[in-house]
Symmetry: C2
Subunit: 152 residues, 2 copies
């Protein structure tokens, strides 16, 4: 039963086994899958993933500076300016003088910002349970721990 030359055969099912052996490929696909759902459930709050991260850090670290935000989130300062401006215009945060460095500004959540995040964070946590629905509780804990060992 001789087969025709492989070059003349159409590809039926794509073999992705090699790519699936690579950590970067899998981590990126997993991140995009979770973020895809995140975009949907966070749309009512008007928060993109990066806005959510920024707001969350400001809420949990009132008085944080732009520079500290950039370092914590891997953002570049010029790219943070617009986000902070927008959040301020929406009345979600305030820029106050820094207590010890007059170059810096201390970022604080407004009452509205606090209220928004008191609703948004549980929504994000709820999304987590959906994203990890195929995993047992112990597996989810293991996955988070191992991911941190990759990038920390």
């Amino acid at each position: 039963m001789a087969r025709p030359p492989a070059a003349q055969l159409a590809v039926q099912t794509v073999d992705t086994s090699y790519l699936e052996s690579l950590m970067g490929y899998n981590a990126r696909r997993a991140a995009l899958a979770v973020i895809e759902h995140f975009l949907v459930v966070m749309a009512p709050y008007g928060l993109r993933p990066v806005d959510f991260s920024v707001m969350s850090l400001i809420v949990h670290n009132p008085g944080i500076t732009s520079r500290q935000l950039c370092a914590a989130l891997g953002l570049l300062p010029p790219n943070l300016v617009g986000m902070v401006n927008t959040l301020q215009k929406r009345g979600l945060i305030e820029r106050r003088p820094h207590p010890s460095d007059r170059r810096a500004l201390a970022l604080h959540p407004s009452e509205g910002g606090l209220a928004l995040m008191r609703a948004a964070e549980p929504t994000a946590t709820q999304l987590e349970r959906r994203a990890t629905a195929k995993l047992k509780a112990a597996e989810t804990k293991t996955l988070l721990r191992l991911l941190r060992k990759i990038y920390l």
Copy 2:
């Protein structure tokens, strides 16, 4: 020992514990960490992550179509055109008529493309060992398996 109001204190260390409890945040940070190294070690081959993925799928699936590439990698057809053009101009791949569908084109690696990937893939595999250096072999296997359960 009364402390001054929190609002007037500078943030010393940023608390990221909430974000670190989220799968999307961790997966994205891990992916970016691995890709950062990938960019460095793949620069000599002139391959970005997406170029590497495309070339790898063409090598392992000779005759694959653009549409199949897009579906496998989550790319949009208009964004693949330029990449395929560039790879063809570099002499790494060939566009041949599809054996059964005259609308489609079958993508094949050239001899030069095969030679490049015979060098690039081991380099990527070697990078994996560096990226997962803090993990035991069993942990790496577990991490890959759990990540696939997130996005598949």
